[in-house]
Subunit: 486 residues, 2 copies
C-alpha cells in the first residue's frame, strides 16, 4: 500500500473533518438519522452538514456546498440520490476531499444498466482523483476509539453503555462487512457479551475499496487483534492471500462468513451488492490453506471472537479437553458435542483424579467429564476445580460448565478466578446452561474468561482454536514459496 | 396404565398435601432452599415440613415425623441422606403416602455397591407399596398451573415474571429431564422467550419411574402440546414406542436429546444417573421411525419448542421457504443456511413478484430471498411483505428477517401482524439479526410469531417441521402392524 493511500484510508476511518452531504433535520429518514447518530457520541472532530435547503441542521451550521466549508475535508459522507453521486464525487475530488463514503443505493446491485453505469463512473472518478471511496450501498462505520459512528444503524444509537468495555486494553475485534445489517448486527449482539470492538466497517458494493484492503490497513494501524468479516465476494485474490498470510503470522485470526454456498445465496448476493460469489469449494480450500476460520452464523462468529479476543495468546496445543461441571447432565451432553466437533475427552490421569477426589463428593465423578456436583461448587467454588483440571498433563484446554444466572458466586471468586486465568497457559472457557446475567458476563469477562451459551458452537470454537494454532505452526515451518504452490 | 397408578402420578405431579422431609431453616443448603422455593409461589395446597430438630420452619409448623401430619399426604419430598432414605420410604408406604420424590444423591450413580444396594431397596419398597417414586438424585419439578415449584433450582426463584405468559392458552411445553441442570436450564432460557411451560420434571436415576411413563401420563392430562426430553437411557423400549406413536398421532411432538453419542458421554451418563446409554445408531433409527425429533443443544431444543408451540397446527407442507428481509445480506446468508439444512429457496412465481415489486424499491429484489431493503420496511412495515410471500403458491413456509432490537415498529403493526398469523395456513417465522428486546419478543409471540436468533438452528427447525408433518402423514397411512415391522 502506498503512503498516500494509507493516509487517505486514515482520512476515511479516522477523520478530523467530516462533511455530511445531504444532511437533514428529519430524523425519520436516513439523511437525518446519520447525522443524529454521529452527534450522539462524543466525537472530537468537526462535522459540517451540507444542505441546499437549510442553514442549520440539528444545531450545527449547514453549508450550501462542499466548497463553502471553511477548512479541508477529510471525509465526505454522501447521502444523496444515486444519480447525483458522480457529480458530487467529482466535486469532492476537486475540493481535495481525501475520502468519501457513499450510503446511497441504486448502483451495481440493481438490475438496471443505469445503476451499473453510475457505479462505473464512481470507480473512474475515484481512480482519477486518488480518492478513497467506501461503498456505494454501504451503511457507514463506527470507529470506537474516536467515538465516531458515521452510520444510520440503530445498533450504535442509545446504547446505554460505552462503545467499548472501558477495562479492555487488548483483544479488540474489527468487523468488516459488505452487509450493514450483518456488520452492525455483530456489534449489537457482541457488545453485551463484553466484546471490545475497534471498528465496525460496512463496505456495500465495494466498487473501489474492498474488504481486504481495509484489513491490510487495520493490520498496520495495530488496534485490532481479531477480524470478523461478512463477504459476498473476494475481488482481489492475490491481496487476500497476502493479507491472510500476514494476519496469520501476526496471530490475528480472520473469521469469515462467505455467503453463496447455495444458488439462492449466490443470486441474493448478486442482487444485494452486485457481488459475483464465485466457487464455494475453491473459497473453502483457500480459507483453509491460509488459516482463515469459517463460521456459520452470527453467534458462531461471535463465539469465535469472544474466544480469540481473550485467549489468542494461549491456544490449545491439541484437541484434548477437560470438562468440569456442576451439572452431570451438562457434562455428558457437552462431551458428546466436543467429540462431534473433532475434540477428545480423555480420561484424566491418576494424580489429577486423586486431587479432584478430594474436592468432590462420592456421588460425583473425577473421570472427565468431571462431575463435581452442585454441592461441591456451592461449597468450594469453580476456581479450584478449574485449576486442578487445567494442571493435568492429559488436557490441552478446559471447559467449565457454570450457571451464569446468579452473580454472587462469581463476585466471591472474582480475584481467584482472575489470578487463575492470568497464570494458566491453557485456555479455560465457560459454558453457562442458564442465561447469564449482564453482571456475571462482565465479571467473568473482566476476570479473563470467555463465556458461551451455545454448546455446539462452543465445541466448534475450541476445535477452531486448535486448528488455528496448527495453521500458524504450519505456516512458520513452510517457506513462503511452497505455501504458494500448495 | 392402571387407574391406581394414574391417581398416584396425579398425586406426584398435582398434590394437595406435601410433606417436606428434612426441611431446614438454613437457606444455604438444599434442604432449606427447596422449602423456600416452594413458598415463593402461590401454591394453593398444604405444605408440611418434617424435621426432628425444629418445631417451626420458615414460618410453617414442623412435624417430627410423617405419621404426625394431621391429614393424608399425597407427596413426600425426601431431602435426607441417602442411607436414611429406604426406612423413610418404608414409613411413607405404611402411612399411605401416594408418591415420593427423592432429591438425595448417593445411589445408582455412584461406583459403590452400597449406593446400588440402596437404589435396589428403593425399587423394592416402591413396588411393594405401589408407591410412585421419582428419583433418586432428582432436582424436583415445577407444575406451573398449580404454582408448585417443588425443587431447589434457582431457575424458578425470584423469577420477576409469572411462571407462564398469562395470555397463552395452548401450545404448552412439558420438560422431562434426567438432569436437573438441563431440565431447569430449558425453563431458564425458554421463559424469557415467552414459552409457556406446563411442567418441568426432573427424574434423576429413574429407579422406578421413567421419563416415558410421565409423558404417557401427560398425554392423558392434556395440558401439554410439546415435549422436551433430556434422556440418558431409555429403560422401557416397548413403552417408548407406544407413547411415541400416540404422541405422533396427536400431533404433539417429542423433542429429545439422548446423550451418549460419544464414549465420554456414555461414561458420563453412567456416572451421572447410573444410566446405560445403549447404542446410539439404534436410538437414532428408533427416533426417526417414530417421528421423534433430535436436537443438538439447549437452544436447538428451545427453537423447536418455540416453533411447534405456536405453529404445530400449520406445519409446512413441503421444504420450499420464502424469505423476506430488510437486510439483503441477511437474506443471502439465511438462504445458504436453509439450503444446508435441506430446505429449498425457489424463485418466486411471476404474479407474486409483480405484487412484491409494488412494495419494494428498484435497488431491492423480489426474486427470493426477497430483499425489501430497510427503507421499504420503514415505510410499509413487515406485515404486507409477509402476506404477499405467504400467499405465493411457490412456498410452504415464510421466514421474515427482522430487527427485534426496537419495539416501536412492531407495536405499530401489532394488530395487522396478529391478523395475518391467525389467517395464514403457512407458518411465518421470524429471525432477528439484532438481539430482540423483551418487549418485541412479547409483542411478536403474542401476535403468534415464533422469534429466533440462531440462523442455523432456525433452518434446522423449519426442516424438522417439514419432516414431522411427513412422519405424521406416514403414520396415518401405514397400518400399525407394518409400522412395527419396519
Amino acid at each position: 500500500m502506498t503512503a498516500a493511500r494509507t493516509a487517505r484510508l486514515d482520512a476515511l476511518l479516522s477523520p478530523t473533518t467530516i462533511a455530511v452531504v445531504g444532511a437533514s433535520p428529519d430524523l425519520h429518514i436516513f439523511r437525518g438519522r446519520t447525522l443524529r447518530v454521529m452527534l450522539g457520541h462524543p466525537f472530537a472532530g468537526r462535522i459540517y452538514p451540507v444542505s441546499r435547503s437549510h442553514t442549520e441542521i440539528q444545531g450545527l451550521p449547514a453549508y450550501p456546498s462542499l466548497a463553502a466549508i471553511p477548512e479541508p475535508v477529510d471525509l465526505a459522507i454522501l447521502i444523496i440520490p444515486a444519480e447525483l453521486i458522480p457529480d458530487e464525487l467529482e466535486r469532492c475530488g476537486r475540493a481535495g476531499v481525501k475520502a468519501a463514503m457513499i450510503l446511497a443505493s441504486g448502483f451495481g446491485e440493481t438490475r438496471s444498466a443505469a445503476g451499473h453505469a453510475l457505479q462505473a463512473r464512481i470507480v473512474e472518478i475515484a481512480e482519477r482523483h486518488g480518492l478513497i471511496v467506501c461503498g456505494p450501498n454501504a451503511e457507514g462505520y463506527a470507529n470506537t476509539a474516536a467515538a465516531l459512528c458515521a452510520t444510520f444503524s440503530p445498533a450504535v444509537e442509545h446504547l446505554g453503555m460505552p462503545l467499548v468495555p472501558p477495562w479492555r486494553t487488548r483483544g479488540h475485534v474489527a468487523v468488516i462487512a459488505q452487509s450493514g445489517g450483518m456488520g452492525f448486527g455483530l456489534f449489537d449482539r457482541g457488545r453485551p457479551r463484553e466484546l471490545p470492538f475497534s471498528y465496525v466497517i460496512t463496505t456495500g458494493n465495494e466498487a473501489s475499496l474492498e474488504a481486504f484492503e481495509i484489513v491490510e490497513h487495520l493490520l498496520d494501524d495495530g488496534r485490532s487483534d481479531v477480524f470478523l468479516m461478512y463477504l459476498e465476494s473476494i475481488k482481489d485474490v492475490p491481496r487476500f492471500e497476502r493479507v491472510a498470510a500476514r494476519a496469520l503470522a501476526a496471530g490475528k485470526p480472520i473469521i469469515v462468513t462467505k455467503v453463496g454456498t447455495s444458488d439462492a445465496g449466490v443470486r441474493a448476493s448478486l442482487a444485494h451488492t452486485g457481488a459475483v460469489a464465485g466457487d464455494h469449494a475453491a473459497h473453502h480450500a483457500m480459507f483453509r490453506r491460509h488459516g482463515v476460520i469459517e463460521a456459520g452464523d452470527l453467534d458462531e462468529m461471535l463465539d469465535l471472537a469472544v474466544a480469540f479476543s481473550l485467549c489468542r495468546e494461549r491456544l490449545p496445543a491439541g484437541p484434548r479437553v477437560g470438562i468440569g461441571s456442576a451439572s452431570g447432565g451438562g457434562g455428558a451432553w457437552l462431551a458428546d458435542a466436543c467429540v462431534a466437533a473433532g475434540l477428545t475427552i480423555p480420561l484424566l490421569d491418576a494424580p489429577t483424579r486423586a486431587l479432584l477426589d478430594q474436592l468432590i463428593p462420592a456421588y460425583g465423578c473425577s473421570q472427565n467429564p468431571v462431575d463435581a456436583t452442585a454441592q461441591a461448587i456451592v461449597q468450594s467454588g469453580y476456581t479450584e476445580l478449574a485449576r486442578v483440571i487445567a494442571g493435568s498433563d492429559s488436557v490441552d484446554a478446559v471447559i467449565m460448565i457454570v450457571s451464569g444466572r446468579l452473580t454472587a458466586s462469581f463476585e466471591k471468586e472474582r480475584d481467584k478466578l482472575a489470578a487463575l486465568a492470568e497464570a494458566s497457559a491453557k485456555p479455560i472457557l465457560l459454558w453457562s446452561y442458564t442465561l447469564p446475567s449482564a453482571d456475571a458476563t462482565r465479571i467473568l469477562s473482566q476476570a479473563g474468561y470467555p463465556l458461551f451459551t451455545g454448546m455446539q458452537s462452543l465445541a466448534r470454537t475450541v476445535a477452531a482454536m486448535v486448528q488455528y494454532r496448527r495453521a500458524r505452526e504450519r505456516a512458520r515451518q513452510e517457506p513462503c514459496e511452497s505455501r504458494r504452490r500448495a
